[in-house]
Subunit: 231 residues, 2 copies
Amino acid sequence: MHTLTHFRLCPRSRAIRIALAEIGITPELVEERPWEWRTEFLALNPAGELPVLALEGGLVLCGSYAITEYFAGLLENMQKDGRPAPLFHGSLAERAEQRRLVDWFHGKLNREVTRELLHERVYGHLMGEGGHTPDTEALRAIRTNLRYHLGYVNHLAHERRWLAGDEMSFSDLAAAAHLSAIDYLGEIRWDDHTAAKSWYARVKSRPSFRPLLADRLPGLAPAPVYTDLDF
Amino acid sequence: MHTLTHFRLCPRSRAIRIALAEIGITPELVEERPWEWRTEFLALNPAGELPVLALEGGLVLCGSYAITEYFAGLLENMQKDGRPAPLFHGSLAERAEQRRLVDWFHGKLNREVTRELLHERVYGHLMGEGGHTPDTEALRAIRTNLRYHLGYVNHLAHERRWLAGDEMSFSDLAAAAHLSAIDYLGEIRWDDHTAAKSWYARVKSRPSFRPLLADRLPGLAPAPVYTDLDF
């Protein structure tokens, strides 16, 4: 069995959990708290970053980039039944657009919203007594950035059936992974972004998404909207 | 002719300049100062990030990830003459290692060293009067991180012929792109890292690297070691 080292609300880990489920792989999950910099984890991935997928055969894939491109290479462009592969598919131009958006969500959205929000509201909480207290000024800036990003997702969802085009790709899974972590914390006003809401409802109701909706952090319950499929 | 929008010392732009030269493509270069957030540039790439490659046919590739994977897909695994393709090559496991290292340099090294160093020493300088004055404490932290990363490159260069294995890959170009920007600023003590030095000397002497050695920033001359092939 493959083993995925992840953290429950880490967006890059979540994207890989959904992607693996979409291609029919159920790894064993091992949780890591990346801010602890444990020696054993650094021996697995010297970068100290999540997720890490240890394949049954012994090969260790470190990071979202290496994992997704490994499976994209394995699955190639089209599945045997003629449906588009669930990670990247179509012409080189279409695949470039799918990857541009993955970069947007794992790069820009992460830097400007998800990473900072988790830092302010989750990691400090889990560290307990000695942890970080949320900074009101920082939260205000993060929420301003979030409105901009939701506007962009809304624009894409309004123009296209899926975020990168006609078919679902890893860019949808990456975006949904980030938004799901943010949504757990109750930070999204979905009714202000109706096209994004209807796109997210479609991703959220996929069987691959279900295990994420069951995630709970100790002492930090999800917002009621988080698990509601009809939000 | 293709057009590459770049900034002279931006490491991700540099990596693409070298990669395109390695596959025999000479784009027209257009410089952008990414901190100015110009409307025309944001129309080209709404993420406001470099590099951007506009192909002759009209297709625009935004960001290092979309550009490298576009050409990796175009070139496939092996070149016609049987030599490994210059971006990613070999088995899926070997390509995963090449991509893990690209992620390391464009992710971790960039975040912990290159981006911060350019912020402290270059962008502020180019902004002129109203610009940022280098922060001594920040520079000290960046230099500590740099020693750690040079140690890691040295370890890889000691164990392997190229950083990811027996053949040069995009991971070497990405690493060299970052180190070249840092080296322009005279921040690297090469004699403390002899395996990294001998690997970098090999990359630096490639014809694809030559245009980068001719780069000059207004009012900020490179360290003497920067252009020296026998440093």
